[in-house]
């Protein structure tokens, strides 16, 4: 934005947001700069991570930039936001840890299989088989199976935050129709307590998958991440629930 008037008007809206903390205004400011976040996410492509997962990370950076921007310092928002978003993306790759040692080649296969699931699902109109994924990726079936298992050992903490801070309206509507019900009160109390140990997004995914009957791909579509990432989050949540259960028993 080079026009001084336009920049002044934009800054006024950031000043207003700092004063009011109005959610609608914040969301407008985020919407207006989504292109910046997507563009920066694109620069980090080709490293084995799904594009939509990187966009999610960039959106977290954009949200942080909107929250922290101080227009009175005289910088343009894009000048301030770029290093914030880039920093978030770099942190994502730095934080990305494998809980067991996974060979680099297999790490690359995880990304390839993730992309193949998406493209093959779209083309076939259904979930692909392992054999179809092997053809799609030019990997052996064994390599695809290895990649599926390796995906579980992958953690990416910085995608956890929900950029909108409140979940999508579609998700809220879907969740509203679901009842996590058990006949006896004791079980229900324990289940509620276990589920409360998860953060909102993880709880939502568990509820949609196991109580709402949505597939991983359907959940992925609703929350805007890849199916492989939903798979990771489910595996992590189930491990956490198990640990909570053991702690309860102890």
């Amino acid at each position: 934005m080079t026009d001084p008037d336009a920049r002044r008007r934009a800054n006024e809206r950031f000043v207003e947001y700092r004063r009011t903390h109005d959610r609608a205004l914040r969301n407008e400011l985020i919407e207006e700069h989504i292109g910046l976040a997507k563009g920066l996410a694109r620069r980090f492509g080709g490293r084995g991570e799904a594009r939509e997962d990187l966009v999610q990370v960039a959106m977290v950076g954009l949200l942080k930039a909107v929250e922290r921007f101080e227009p009175e310092r005289g910088l343009a928002f894009t000048t301030f936001a770029t290093p914030t978003i880039t920093g978030e993306l770099k942190r994502h790759f730095r934080d990305k840890a494998w809980s067991v040692r996974i060979p680099r080649r297999t790490q690359e296969h995880v990304g390839e299989v993730g992309r193949a699931i998406q493209s093959a699902s779209q083309r076939l109109g259904r979930a692909p088989s392992i054999a179809e994924l092997a053809v799609e990726t030019s990997l052996t079936e064994e390599e695809v199976i290895e990649a599926m298992e390796a995906n579980q050992a992958f953690t990416a903490a910085s995608i956890d935050a929900d950029p909108a801070g409140e979940g999508s309206p579609v998700l809220r509507d879907t969740l509203a129709g679901l009842e996590v019900g058990f006949d006896d009160v004791e079980s229900r109390v324990l289940v509620d307590r276990l589920l409360e140990s998860l953060d909102e997004r993880d709880r939502t995914i568990i509820t949609l998958r196991f109580f709402g009957g949505l597939t991983q791909s359907e959940i992925a579509e609703q929350i805007g991440v890849s199916q492989m990432h939903v798979s990771r989050l489910l595996a992590r949540s189930l491990a956490k629930l198990r640990a909570e259960l053991v702690a309860e028993a102890g």
Binding site: E149, F182, V191, G213, L245
Partner: protein, 129 residues
């Protein structure tokens, strides 16, 4: 692998500690792929096997050294059955209604027997017609 008349059986014996459950998941994915399950169904199968394997393992604070977890994957023309058994001595079980609900959502049938001495499970996953 063994079996007769279109039925194939895979037997796997792993140490009864969580670190080795990965091998059970890998075998499940392979067996599911041989049955012709799609990617989503295999993900579900893996979750079911994972959950039930952990359910039959002795708790970490059990006093006895961990026994092996014995697994049998039976491939029928239309379904996969997985049976697991672990001698746990007097170790307590850690199973919840939530865990049962999770397994019920991802497999067609299952049973879990947590009697003193041996914990067992059985699950069945069918290929869609």
């Amino acid at each position: 692998m063994s079996g007769t008349a279109g039925v194939r059986r895979i037997r796997l014996s792993i140490p009864g500690v969580p670190d080795f459950v990965r091998l059970a998941r890998l075998a499940a994915v392979d067996a599911g792929s041989r049955l012709g399950l799609d990617y989503e169904q295999i993900e579900d199968l893996r979750i079911g096997v994972d959950e039930l394997c952990f359910a039959v393992l002795p708790t970490a604070d059990a006093e006895l050294p961990p026994a092996d977890l014995e697994l049998v994957f039976t491939l029928h023309p239309d379904r996969l059955e997985v049976e697991g058994a672990c001698a746990v001595g007097s170790a307590a079980a850690h199973q919840s209604e939530l865990s049962r609900t999770i397994v019920a959502a991802v497999v067609d049938e299952f049973s879990l027997e947590l009697s003193e001495g041996v914990h067992r499970f059985r699950l069945s996953k069918r290929r869609d017609a």
